[in-house]
Amino acid sequence: MAKVLGIDLGTTFSAMAVIEGGEPKIIENKEGARTTPSVIALAKNGETLVGVQARRQQITNPQNTISQVKRLIGRRFADEEVQKDKKLLPYEIRESKDGGIEIKMGEKWLKPAEISAMVLRKLKTDAEEKLGETITEAIITVPAYFDDSQRKETKVAGEIAGLEVKRVLNEPTAAALAYGLNKKKDEKIVVYDFGGGTFDISILEVSEDTIEVKATGGDTHLGGEDFDQKVMSWLVEQYQKEEGIDLAKDPLALQRLKEAAEKAKIELSSSLETEINLPFITSDSSGPKHLYFKMTRAQLESLVFEYIDKSMTLMEQTLKEAKVSVKDIDEIVLVGGQTRMPAIQEAAKKLFNKDPNRSINPDEVVALGAAIQGGILQGEVKDVLLLDVTPLSLGIETLGGVSTALIAKNTTIPATKSQVFSTAADNQTSVEVHVVQGERQMAQDNKSLGRFMLDGIPPASRGVPQVEVSFDIDANGILNVTAKDNASGKTQTIRIEGSSGISEEEAGRMRKDAEANEEVDKKRKEIVEARNMADTLIYAVEKTIKDAGDKITPEDKKNVEEKLDALRKVKDGEVVEEIQKTTQDLSEAIGKISASLNKEGQQQEAQSEEKEEDKKPEEGEDKKPEEGEAKEE
């Protein structure tokens, strides 16, 4: 099946993605960038340049470098917006015979769709090169407020570029798809899209597999570039104040300032302070001049406060027009690089009293959503192979009542996992396997799915038998748990149906429960683990003393036995630190004796026991005995 290319055809930048392995993935262009400037130029030598190359030569050839063509596509020349934009665009446009628009590029007059097609063709060619296959179908996104004519022209642009446009998709819908919000029912979603040069608001309503645009708003001439401009003006102003030199008159200095301003803005999204360090920015009669400023996040925020404030006012206005109240909004989706700014996220959070969705790269989310739409239209293999995940962890109860997960929650099924466990007591011949489900640390707090006994284990010292427990969960959520004694080869199995058939509410409640009890559970688990460690050490010490017989001096023996008694006394207490400290004391005492014992065999035995101890403190379950037997014996 050929791939459908998802294209975010932006005003300043475009991006593309395809579905691979069931997941959307951004495709880099030939230059290795994840976004491509939506700029086309007719170079002096007659060559057509697209993307970054067109942008690089822009200032040498402004009349023949066409950017922001998205502002013109599908519009009438007489449109108010067109007349306004006309003054800002560096290239020439005129009215076509049918009342549309024509753009002058070289000697020719081209339709906006023909210009857009050049961007699309580059994307198509680059994607084909990258993927090694021919691309003939595409999904192209447009702003939600685009009318029929604008959509039709966008489709035509795709067709000129040799693409069959399977759908012209709304940008906010694409963003919602990327976040999987189409699966929610009866939800209202706000998409807040702050791009480089435009600010779009959309209110969506999701119902039974459709996403409907309820209202749109925004400002087509407000974007991240305005933020950069503000920072730049501030730098120029400050410099003028301090040095009395107007950097705005020096094009080279301005170029460096522009880059530095954008860099500072970006850095202040992740740090609270940044420095703008531009040595040799200019010079005067006294010699070279440098620029050095510190800028804090708060400073940046106060500079661009008006823009953020304006965006929120527009948001409230759009909500009002759509007759939707802030409370009705279930999800907020942030799109566009400028939404990385913490102040914008905060403002959105404050208005809606909800955390916005922002886990997907906001520059790429629309293209990713377009690719997903392509996948949906193709039907992919989803009907046949819909893979589920386990809603909760599956595991068994181990020594001290601890719940040890074998299959973690959110594991895609079918899946198989196994782990080796051992016995808790000497000559233990059976183990009980208690299968539990849930996120709590102690087995008793989780849901019990079933239990069984594996017997016939040949008698051996504790910790010696190897019991392999395997969990196998199939695509239908049927769980088979098998315990096998590696020495005797004896196995026992239990089949549990509907381990994943737990209701969404119940799973949610259980997860919440686990979160709420996280601290308490952690404490309890720590105590149990400390006790388990103490038990193992006591056992090892007793064995060492017994095996050593009178090879230990009476003083040493007395010393160890005192510490042994001390540990026996505290180990069932509730103070973790005390158990750990006393265990440590005993461990040191027996360590000294082990070292002084000459007989190698005994020495090795004691050490191997000790080593095992060292491994245990944190994830020590691997070889730990089952809990049930410890009690039985």
Partner: protein, 160 residues
């Protein structure tokens, strides 16, 4: 009667077989696709990791290059008599060291001065009036190639 019934039963079964065959093919195709997807994903993941490493290196080099730029700006401002100072000579030596490091990373400076403007490698940031339109008259910030790939375009002044 019986023959008719049998015929019907056979037809029904045949239809079922057809359906099952079709379903089987669908399942097999889906399974094969899933396996292929995983295999491809693994390969791509490897490539992606490599790409990521390259990206990290590139980001590092970008920051590094802006320091080299500033150092070179400083060098450009030095007057001849200042170059006699031992301290200045020490700084110049550091500059040499940095350029040596770039070389060792397979990074080469892009020639631009006096050449025809080429947007594949050059970025025009200023223009000037002059005799040879389309020629680069001044390099304002150096550009670099890394193993025959463009790392950063040269910023140039071009004759209009």
């Amino acid at each position: 009667m019986n023959v008719m019934d049998d015929q019907k039963a056979i037809e029904k079964l045949q239809k079922q077989v057809e359906e099952i065959k079709k379903e089987k093919e669908e399942f097999l195709a889906g399974w094969q696709r899933a396996k292929a997807d995983l295999a491809n994903y693994k390969k791509e993941e490897k490539e992606r990791m490599q790409g990521l490493m390259e990206y990290v290196k590139q980001e590092f080099l970008f920051s590094f290059l802006s320091m080299v730029d500033n150092l070179e700006r400083a060098e450009g401002e030095l007057k001849e008599e200042e170059k006699n100072s031992k301290t200045v000579q020490g700084f110049l030596q550091i500059g040499k060291q940095l350029r040596e490091f770039l070389k060792s990373q397979g990074i080469k400076e892009i020639e631009a001065q006096g050449k025809d403007f080429n947007p594949e490698l050059h970025e025009a940031v200023a223009t000037t009036q002059g005799e040879n339109p389309g020629k680069v008259v001044e390099v304002l910030e150096k550009g670099y190639m890394i193993q025959d790939k463009l790392l950063r375009a040269v910023k140039v002044k071009v004759v209009k």
